[in-house]
Symmetry: C2
Subunit: 351 residues, 2 copies
Amino acid sequence: MPSVPRASTSSGGDPGRLDELPTPALVVDKGALDRNLATMAGVWPGRRLRPHVKAHKTSGLARRQAELGHTGFTCATIREVEVMAAAGLGEDLLLANEVLDMRRLGAVVEAGARVTVAVDSDAVLQAAVAGGVREVLIDVNVGLPRCGCDPQDAGRLADAARAAGLEVRGVMGYEGHLMLVADPVERAEKTAGAMALLQKAHADVGGDILSGGGTGTWRTNAVVTELQAGSYALMDTAYAAQDDVPFEQSLTVLATVISVNASQGYAVADAGLKAFGMDHGNPTLPGHAVWYCSDEHTIFSPKDGAPLPALGDRVRFVPAHIDPTCALHERMWMVEGDDVVDCWPVDMRGW
Amino acid sequence: MPSVPRASTSSGGDPGRLDELPTPALVVDKGALDRNLATMAGVWPGRRLRPHVKAHKTSGLARRQAELGHTGFTCATIREVEVMAAAGLGEDLLLANEVLDMRRLGAVVEAGARVTVAVDSDAVLQAAVAGGVREVLIDVNVGLPRCGCDPQDAGRLADAARAAGLEVRGVMGYEGHLMLVADPVERAEKTAGAMALLQKAHADVGGDILSGGGTGTWRTNAVVTELQAGSYALMDTAYAAQDDVPFEQSLTVLATVISVNASQGYAVADAGLKAFGMDHGNPTLPGHAVWYCSDEHTIFSPKDGAPLPALGDRVRFVPAHIDPTCALHERMWMVEGDDVVDCWPVDMRGW
């Protein structure tokens, strides 16, 4: 491996400064992150929250969540389960996703972590048995066209799981199709309808857990025993548009202006579409119009007659979707003002 | 680090089989890749091609290109330069991008590789001197609103570079705004116009090199002394729509069907928007309609009344843009039919 760029290390040594970081770089405002974590913990304290690590893929950030009492976590991939367990955060890991080869998960259980998996079919149930995973949630389709069994089939599946020797801890159902319903009242009504399906399935399944929800329904989901929110920590612009979602944008992508075209009135920064999750569109830059992104560049111009930036200036883009943005970076830098105070590897990337 | 999923290793051991690969996985059809490499080498042989490694970020694939005689390469990031040099492929590396801190590049030069950088301003020129890079190309704006100096300023910049002790090898200008002009005749005319700007700048700059072009203009750019094509090896669907671009789609993303909803007529595969570059939109699946992608899932249905896939079936998605797709994966698997014949780490990711 070649040398890895570094302005400071995660433990000890002189803290670096923002203007010394190699770019592009994920930058997290520590104050905003701390406020987001505290706000959520105030409403969903301790084990009532099962933070979803897919949003940040960073065990350092998960550790902060665990220190606040959220010691159970939600994962989307086997890799996320493996890294969380290896980081000593394996007290109660839920893989909220279907997997047909669970041997790597069985190895994590064997090594001492607690792993529960989502099950929506007999094939996945058999995979749990074959792979050495012993605890499951019945994954119920509550309206999002994705995984999850028919609510009517949940009881039968739970019986089959128990007959196969599995422990059924309850149900999960993710109302992902409702996260971005703009009107909070409408969102609450539709969430209640989706959660009624989950409750009905739970009546047939049993167990202690009704797991679901997310950042968009943190105030409207009154049914789940544990909320699977993840985005609230670093935040997405789509959620920020909602009146009842008060979390702050704590993550930005730092870039350097590497070229300026004065005659055409634009500047070029060294963070492009390989530094941003692009599924929700281009990143934004407050006070500027983003023209387009190419692989390693974003081209932009100031609004309202403001002056062009100078060569070497630093700018901080707001990505349109943080989850895939984090997945493109090797590390995130924690900053307080202009000071870099910590560096966390984004260590749950890949599969 | 947790265990890394592997079905086979890159050297020795039993070759694996496609249906044993962990998913999602980048899969390269070796036959199609070989044909693409041969077709390009037939028209742009040896050093006439300077393959752009940003498209695949994989030194194993670059080594194949070098074996065909293309021993000079184009890079977009410092990391790409570092990894290529460390892989022994540093005979003539061009960083076709502006950088304001070249110390890491100077270290690569110090270690014995040849590194030439693009320069479009006095500040970047000074960065080359300060960082210990000794060879440059003057980067000329030929119509793409991105980096590159005004063609009128190229001669002055070359003089300044030489006065600062740098070797000026020539000019580069990338007609990226013309790559996807649909009509080949119109594309050729506009390319000629852009390249006339590059030729004029070259007359003022001197040097042996006119570098530019790409997969989209491989047949229409008659001016450059070296073509910077990268996409041709693995191919993008956008280029494939062009009549005069005959390269085959050799890269797909392998996924497993993990859930099937028979009543609603859709299936769920375990490759989502973190497995695909999404800036050009959703991936495609021949014979199927892709409904949407979420982080770790793609939801799709068969067209024309075809049956739903079964749980556990493997499907191969065509990503809409390969460059950022490769940047999301740790390795790519080479396959011949159902046999996995090699595995290359995607070792130039990050910055």
